[in-house]
Amino acid sequence: MPKPITLKDHYRETRVFARRSVVGLGFVFLLMLVLVARMFYLQVMQYEKYRTMADENRITVEPIAPTRGLIMDRNGTLVADNRPSYAVSIIKEQCPDVDDTIRNIGELITLDEAQIDRFHKRLEQRQRPHTPVALKFKLTEEEIAIIAVNQHRLPGVTLDASLVRHYPWSETLSHAVGYVGRINERELKTLDATDYSATEHVGKTGIEAFYEDQLHGDVGFQTIETDARGRITRVLERTDPAPGQDLMLYLDLPTQIAAAKALDGRRGAVVAIEPETGGVLAFVSIPGFDPNLFVTGIDYKTYKDLQESRAQPLFNRAIQGQYPPGSTIKQIVALAGLYYGVTDWNRSIYDPGFYKLENDNHFYRDWKKWGHGVVNMHQAIVESCDTYFYDLAFKMGVDRIHDFMLPFGFGKRTGIDMPSERPGLIPSRNWKRGALNQPWYPGETLIVGIGQGYMLATPLQLALSAAILANRGKLVKPHMVRNIGGTPVTDAQPPGQIELKDPNNWELTIAAMRAVVHSATGTARGIKEGLTYDIAGKTGTAQVVGIKQDESYDASKLSDWHKDHALFVGFAPVDKPKIAVAVLVENGGGGGSTAAPVARIVMDAYFNSLAQDAISDNQREPATSEQ
């Protein structure tokens, strides 16, 4: 219903519209300039920034972990290798609901709360979207198969393979080889950040820790182009990682197995050394543990059980256990007496079963209640007469014993290529003044003469002293690793020789040690049956608890944890020694009855192993024997 004035307004309306159209078009032009200005800002002024961001988006420098070097025994049998291990992971962006997916996986394979918690923690820590986050490591063959079969209904779930350290001999070598574990925060600070950027494991104990640098290798890098889902679309550049070097040990696996088996069920340690080289042929500490548990992360309860067990399976007795050496050092005290001219092979004493000092009411008892009667030094070693050595030690004084024993490897770290070695202790008047701020009492010298009191030694030190005796004084340094990446370890042998005033005393002492095993009265005569080679040895029985003056030692009355430690040191064959052994059995009772038979088994195993080698060397050109 237009009013009459509408017609009149027609021109005006047209003019107004035309004006407004021009203004509108002007706005369009202005706003387009705004867009162009914005684009100019982004594409020209900020070009460098966004170019870099685009490149950072797609180009990633990814470190590639080197393959850890293998460890094998002297025959080439692998004792630490790398095996593929599978983990199930979730890519959050590709999975419709993370919690649902975890529930679905939980219905297929077992998942515990801790695993799910750790997954969520890892999920929060990840740095880019579209990266897989591990839910459960170390899947069994069956679990891998179940996940693989059901993968079509689990979007965003992947199976990732990686190489993981494996110890095929489990407990047998746990303390010798050690183990690797996940790098913890403290280690992260000390390790080279670049070199370990792709590495998840680091050597924690044993050979694995000591030779970490050689075993680890050098990290590699690849420059890759990835899409937003983290999928690699192109490899732009690649530097291959250098794998870690393989280690060959001096260790003889058959000997090691025999030693572990001989100790089986008891607590103790066996160390066997090749006297010529110092190479460690057997390195056993029992009980051990399965090192494979530590590789992918041990659960709390298992770890706590291991740590709190009274048998101390995590304790490396061979180099960390410091025990009174007992009578196993008497032959060295004898050499000291000869060296300082305090005694000679013809001098005899009468042993009534005890020794008494003037102005001292204390009875220093012999292990044989009624005494050994008249004994010279040879008999004193063979029968392990305490009274003879009380007398000898008293006449010599503690400082001269200390000075003479040091070169045999006592009282200081031997320098073996293993971490956490303990030094043991050879007391002296100086030491006591410094460490305890007390004067030295003459009675203390007496018990040092029979390897008791303050004196402490590790099984490794005892084996080393036996090796030096076997060498007739030629010094060696114990060594685990024989060659690295095929190159023999050269720093193994420090030059040196213990000089005696009369070199004949080496043979005379060794003859007495031989008689310990081979004579009718020797304390280790029980192991001579069926021997095809000669053994020179010395037994020891070390007190764990002090016996009161009016009491005598009665094993049946003592609890198992208070019984004497049984010890034995020895080497064989006597003329051209190939193996020196130290055996310690905690609370094992008598050295002759308990420790010596273990040494015999170890020696038998080693000579048997050498014979096998000789056969295979003769029969086959390239020795490819592998168990």
Binding site: F17, A18, L25, L31, Q43, Y47, Y50, A54, R58, D227
Partner: protein, 380 residues
């Protein structure tokens, strides 16, 4: 019917009795059609790259464009006065459908925007309202003395506010704002007083505050992300950070067709739909963006030319509103992708992959062509 007014005949370029050109006969405006064809062809090239070279996507887009051009042709045949006659009825039906959507609409992604039609499929009433609202405002104002007084302005505002609010409730804030702006453009072109516009700008501040209060959480998140995309680089800000990175890394000349790393390595989200301008900017650089804006400007200039030459107020207002609203889409989309406007989910007209918007846009251009080619038969 004032056909016999002599000044009317003078203003026509083609005499009534003269030879009628082919384009005139099928009611197509040559320059506008040319501009649209250039735009659509450029768009297909970019889409091919933005869709990871999916021929499948191209074929589907081409068939949609074919439907769009057919709709345009059909719409061009209908004379403007018919549109004018239908406008109030279309408005009533459209508003009714919007109410129906709220009552019985299909829900998708947390919003009710579609109406399920048995046998036909889904239908989005808010899409056709993009055309009907400016038509309705134009229809109403055409009958009034212009420039409009206060009362017609308020009534016209009410007419556009009803569908705006209904669509905002779906909720579809982007579309409702576009529809409101289409109605406002019609008002502006009719000569809305500058004082009123100034008052509107002043009132916008408290309005923005109250809008914030009624916004849904995801809408607020979008605004916050817009204000500071770096705040949440891996989450809500990912889209805008990646699109700015795509645009900026294109530089002056671009990385070359099919060589955009952001788009082809999937860093750029929605690279074939809302964010397609980032693909063009990355691969063809600032020069490519300027070229595209030039094409848009040509189309808009032609639209305004058609509006200025229209013979009645209704046609003028409709043609002007459709043309300028088309620009609003362009501006909002590019502004959003380049980070000067919040992410609102508006496709780049005739370049982004998508069905409904192509048909609506081409229908609008059909109306423009109708206005241009029916002139000699039209009288006020």
């Amino acid at each position: 019917m004032n056909n016999d007014f002599p000044y009317k005949l003078d203003s026509l370029r083609t005499p009534v009795t003269g030879r009628v050109s082919l384009t005139q006969a099928i009611h197509v405006d040559g320059p506008l059609l040319g501009g649209l064809l250039v735009l659509v062809s450029v768009g297909l090239f970019v889409l091919y790259s933005g869709s990871s070279q999916s021929m499948d996507t191209i074929i589907r887009q081409v068939s949609r464009l074919a439907i769009g051009f057919s709709v345009m042709l059909v719409m061009a045949q209908i004379p403007p006065r018919t549109y004018k006659r239908w406008t109030p009825w279309l408005y009533l039906v459209g508003t009714g459908l919007l109410i129906a959507v709220l009552v019985a609409g299909a829900e998708a992604k947390g919003a009710q925007r579609w109406l399920a039609l048995p046998g036909i499929g889904r239908f989005q009433p808010s899409e056709v309202m993009k055309l009907i609202v400016p038509m309705m405002v134009s229809w109403y104002l055409a009958e009034r003395a212009l420039p409009p007084g206060w009362r017609p302005v308020l009534l016209a505002t009410l007419l556009m506010l009803v569908p705006t609010v209904l669509i905002a409730k779906q909720p579809d804030l982007g579309t409702s704002l576009l529809i409101a702006s289409a109605g406002f453009i019609a008002l502006f072109l009719s000569g809305l007083s500058w004082r009123f516009i100034g008052g509107l700008v002043v009132a916008a501040v408290p309005a923005a505050g109250s809008l914030w209060m009624v916004m849904r959480e995801y809408q607020r998140q979008r605004v916050l992300t817009f204000l500071n995309p770096e705040m949440d680089r891996w989450g809500a800000g990912w889209n805008i950070t990646q699109s700015k990175t795509a645009i900026g890394s294109g530089g002056l000349e671009g990385k070359g067709w099919l060589h955009g790393t952001q788009a082809h390595l999937d860093f750029l989200p929605e690279s074939h739909t809302d964010f397609i301008i980032a693909v063009l900017a990355e691969e063809f650089g600032l020069l490519g963006v300027c070229a595209l804006l030039l094409i848009y400007f040509a189309i808009i200039a032609r639209g305004m030319y058609i509006a200025m030459n229209a013979q009645d107020t209704y046609s003028r207002l409709v043609a002007g509103a459709i043309t300028l609203t088309f620009f609003v889409y362009v501006f909002v989309n590019i502004g959003m992708v380049s980070g000067i406007l919040p992410v609102v989910g508006v496709p780049l007209p005739l370049v982004s992959y998508g069905g409904t918007s192509v048909v609506t846009l081409m229908a609008g251009f059909g109306i423009l062509m109708s206005i241009q080619t029916h002139r000699k038969l039209v009288a006020t």
